[in-house]
């Protein structure tokens, strides 16, 4: 076991784990940040999506030893008051069904909005292709991203 200092949601956190431990399990089992979900362990479903220096990344295939000083953002730290435009749009449009994949969906969508503040349906389908939703909330995910873009634009900030 080794101790790693990870920058999670703006704070340095020490985790004592084996070097090969995926970030997903360090977040969930060691730091108690369970918003990042386990779905496949292969980077196939996107339930574990977090941001690494602002870029959507699958935490289930990212060993803790490979992270270094890169900044990790999880769903818990996306917005201090959980009022990110995506979080508001998701509630306004009642996007979740079971809800399990939605933190990953929101993290991927956030990455998309940084790149394309006003995305087209095609850009949404492209950027969100790595996130499975077994309840199939895809229609509302599309709407939710458009709505979040609208909220962000009306408030003059970047989503």
């Amino acid at each position: 076991m080794s101790t790693y200092t990870l920058n999670v949601n703006g704070k340095d956190r020490a985790v004592e784990v084996e070097a090969d431990t995926p970030l997903l399990w360090a977040l969930r089992d060691t730091l108690g940040l369970v918003g990042t979900k386990f779905g496949c362990g292969l980077g196939q479903c996107g339930a574990c999506t977090i941001h690494l220096d602002g870029v959507a990344t699958r935490a289930c295939v990212l060993p803790v030893a490979a992270i270094g000083r890169q900044k990790i953002t999880t769903i818990e730290g996306l917005d201090a008051k959980h009022q990110h435009p995506l979080q508001r749009a998701w509630q306004e449009l009642d996007v979740p069904q079971c809800g399990y994949c939605q933190s990953g969906q929101i993290m991927s969508a956030c990455s998309l909005l940084k790149q394309h503040p006003k995305p087209t349906d095609a850009q949404i389908d492209d950027a969100m292709a790595g996130n499975l939703c077994r309840c199939a909330t895809y229609m509302r995910i599309r709407k939710g991203i458009h709505r979040a873009a609208e909220i962000a634009a009306s408030e003059g900030k970047q989503a």
């Binding site: 076991m1 784990v17 084996e18 090969d20 431990t21 995926p22 399990w25 969930r28 089992d29 060691t30 108690g32 940040l33 369970v34 918003g35 990042t36 979900k37 386990f38 779905g39 496949c40 362990g41 292969l42 196939q44 479903c45 339930a47 999880t74 769903i75 818990e76 959980h82 995506l86 979080q87 998701w90 509630q91 306004e92 009642d94 996007v95 979740p96 069904q97 079971c98 809800g99 399990y100 994949c101 939605q102 933190s103 929101i106 949404i124 389908d125 969100m128 292709a129 996130n131 499975l132 939703c133 077994r134 309840c135 199939a136 909330t137 895809y138 229609m139 509302r140 995910i141 599309r142």
Partner: protein
């Protein structure tokens, strides 16, 4: 107002609840008068197990049903809130533990939660409201009939007085409860909340990543388990390198669990218990097990297919229905069609893999945190298999990351318990399945084969229908005897449409024995029968040169109700089906639009789980055979009231896309008794780019009981799409999944 035994129950409930947990037996009024484990002894008005109103006016409602994404934790409390007449913003919903005596049945399956509880829940709210009105009327010394309610307050219009419920709770708590059956319910026309779009009560927690799901449970000193079963269901471990595994980092223990022969229960396996999920998964990679594969190892999908073809030429082992003379009718038919349809085994693949946390206390009591659809069955299986009295089992029902029928099975609950029983230091244990476990050790939707013959007469009417259905069965032991039991959804009802409608109809069934565990999958049976039968009806319509809608309307006939012909069968409300079929067709512009080659519309309908649904799908098939669903029009009749419009629309959209996903992509191969696919790289599900461009939903209101919507909108999707593909390309899809079918055209 009556002061019948219900009030006694309520009084004893209140008296006891001050002291903590209690149970009250079922009275004549059932759950309506029953008490509950008190959430807290805080003062307030607690008329039953589901409602607590505090002095500050806050309302706490208990949801008894498991929440799996179907939205029941929002919709059933809405029903209480409507009749109670409180502001939804003042309502907090909490999840109840398993407690049948307090709550009545607690299972999420068969789209039953709504029809089984809707009327009762209205009365729960109305009963409490009546007492609050009585309390206000007494305070004001006016007749209760002069009082009205609105937004959590009682009003007396004549004197312009108003008392909030919070101010009435002490007075209300002293009053007897009226007989639930006698209280007046609202006129649905005056509903303020029902029918509106209300967001899920857990949405804020979901979008901010708060602990909510079974897999999120964390307890002090908790350990993490992996459970490794034989790749061939029915197999068991002979030996394993347990000492080596025990020496790996973070591993606390590794041991063999003997298990039972029940394929849907505690299967034999090897447990690894470690200090973190990853330490257990890593150790598992070093595990070497010598397995006794058991008799299932000889099975393969290729072999099952060959057997089914052979059997199709023989009489079925079960004659389900024999009306008229099919052979004579086919001989006399103007045109006949013969077709073989087949579909593979598939998995539920809920996004949250199966998991359960179990804690055996020093006194032998068991506490469970289970993301389950079927807590009562889980408790029973654990009690029976692990030898723990039901009274010593506390079951917390935890939100599930998807159900689809998978969590009606309780294998993961009994596995967690069996592992927890081995913990020498009585540590709580969370068992987490990997995705590979989840896909390869599911209780699968059975595959199946249908060998169909049909005929139409010179006027283009259907005159004969013959189906030999080859399905799957497990061998089960009970009381020293073994027998074959068909998989869930693997039995055809003699009354399944178009049985009952045709003078010459013969339905036969034969089961192939397999060791693959099977279980209910969203709209069991219906999810595949609708595809087969409405595809074949389409084949007959085209053989007759008829419009597929007109052909179906004629087949349904003029009668309004088709009585059942089997014991405990259900009448089929033909009028309701005609109405949804005509609505879907009209809204889709059926027969009024011209489509270019490669584009087309298809239509289908299906009755299941008390719901009547018809769908029209529009597709574009590219010349190289890529299918894109452009639009789906859905007409559903689930009664006069849609409880939560947002939730209902979610269920329809989800069912439509789930139906499309299942049509297009997933299939499991079986080789040497093993499931070949292992994760989402080789078990594909639909991704956002393949979702339809447009789903249009219409709710046809009928004067019938309010029923559920988690399953009925799924079955018609697959045949509607396949019939549209035929209209677009002339190619008939008879084998699933669609992604393996060549649909190219020139």
């Amino acid at each position: 107002m009556s002061q019948a035994p219900a009030s006694l129950s309520r009084r004893s409930f209140l008296r006891n609840s001050a002291g903590g947990a209690l149970l009250i037996g079922m009275s004549a009024q059932g759950v309506l008068a029953a008490g509950a484990r008190a959430a807290s002894p805080a003062p307030g008005f607690v008329p039953n197990a589901f409602i607590r109103i505090a002095r500050d006016g806050s309302v706490t409602l208990t949801s008894k049903q498991p929440e799996i994404g179907q939205g029941i934790k929002t919709s059933l409390p809405m029903v209480i809130a409507e009749e109670l007449d409180v502001d939804w913003h003042h309502v907090r919903v909490v999840q109840g533990d398993l407690n049948l005596e307090a709550y009545g049945s607690q299972g999420a399956g068969g789209s039953n939660s709504t029809p089984n509880n809707y009327e009762n829940f209205r009365r729960l709210g109305a009963t409490a409201r009546a007492v609050l009105v009585q309390a206000a009327a007494q305070t004001w010394r006016v007749a209760p009939g002069e009082c009205t309610t609105d937004g959590g307050a009682v009003l007396h219009a004549a004197s312009k007085r108003r008392l909030a419920y919070g101010a009435l709770v002490d007075a209300a708590a002293r009053l007897p409860l009226p007989e639930a059956a006698t209280v007046a319910l609202k006129n649905p026309a005056s509903f303020k909340l029902l029918g509106k779009r209300i967001g899920g009560v857990d949405n804020a927690a979901i979008v901010s990543g708060q602990p909510l799901f079974g897999i999120d449970i964390q307890l002090p000193g908790m350990l993490h388990a992996q459970y490794i079963k034989c790749p061939v269901p029915g197999g068991s471990p002979l030996s394993a390198n347990l000492d080596e595994v025990r020496s790996l980092p973070g591993v606390r223990d590794a041991f063999i669990v003997k298990g039972t022969a029940n394929l849907n229960g505690l299967r034999p396996g090897v447990a690894i218990v470690a200090t973190s999920t990853w330490n257990a998964i890593r150790a598992r990679r070093a595990l070497k097990v010598e397995w006794d594969d058991g008799p299932g190892a000889k099975h393969s999908w290729a072999d099952f297919t060959a057997q089914a073809r052979k059997i199709s030429r023989q009489p079925g082992t079960t004659m389900l229905r024999r009306d008229g003379n099919v052979d004579a009718a086919l001989t006399g038919a103007a045109k006949t069609v013969e077709a073989a349809y087949s579909y593979p085994f598939i998995s539920h693949a809920s996004m949250e893999p199966q998991n359960c946390t179990a804690w055996i206390k020093p006194d032998g009591a068991l506490e469970l945190w289970a993301p389950t659809q079927n807590p009562n069955a889980g408790q029973a299986l654990v009690s029976y298999t692990c030898g723990i009295a039901k009274e010593k089992i506390t079951m917390h029902i935890i939100r599930s990351g998807g159900g689809f029928g998978r969590r009606l099975s309780s294998d993961f609950i009994v596995e967690a318990t069996a592992i927890a029983q081995q913990m020498k230091d009585k540590a709580p244990v969370k068992l987490t399945w990997t995705r590979e476990d989840d896909l390869q050790h599911d209780h699968f939707r059975p595959g199946g084969f249908h060998f169909l013959r049909g005929g139409v007469d010179a006027q283009g009417r259907a005159v004969a229908w013959h189906n030999h259905f080859v399905t799957f069965a497990n061998r089960v032991s009970q009381d020293g005897k073994t027998s074959l039991r068909n998989g869930s959804g693997g039995s055809l009802s003699p009354d399944e449409f178009p049985g009952r409608w045709l003078a010459n109809c013969q339905l036969e069934q034969t089961a192939l024995e397999c060791s693959v565990p099977m279980g209910p999958w969203r709209a069991p049976g219906s999810c595949v029968f609708a595809w087969v039968f409405h595809s074949f009806i389409d084949e007959l319509a085209h053989a007759a040169g008829r419009d597929p809608l007109a052909f179906r309307l004629e087949l349904l006939g003029d009668q309004d109700l088709m009585p059942p012909t089997v014991e405990r069968g259900q009448p089929y409300n033909v009028a309701r089906m005609r109405a949804v079929l005509q609505t879907a067709a009209a809204k889709a512009g059926w027969g009024k639009r011209k489509f270019a080659r490669g584009q087309g519309q298809g239509i289908a309908f299906h009755f299941s789980h008390r719901g009547y649904v018809a769908q029209v799908a529009e597709v574009t098939v590219s010349q190289d055979g890529q299918v894109k669903v452009d639009r789906v029009v859905v007409a559903s009749d689930v009664g006069p009231t849609i409880i939560n419009l947002s939730g209902a629309e979610n269920q329809v959209e989800g069912s439509v896309i789930d139906g499309l996903s299942t049509l297009m992509f997933p299939a499991l191969d079986i080789e040497n008794g093993r499931i070949v696919q292992s994760n989402f790289h080789d078990y594909q599900l639909l991704r956002i780019g393949d979702a339809p461009a447009q789903i249009e939903m219409h709710f046809v209101k009928s004067d019938q009981p309010v029923t559920g919507l988690g399953e009925p909108p799924l079955p018609p999707l697959a045949p509607a799409v396949c019939n549209a593909i035929f209209a677009a390309t002339g190619k008939r899809v008879r084998e699933l999944p669609l992604s393996k079918v060549d649909l190219s055209w020139s």
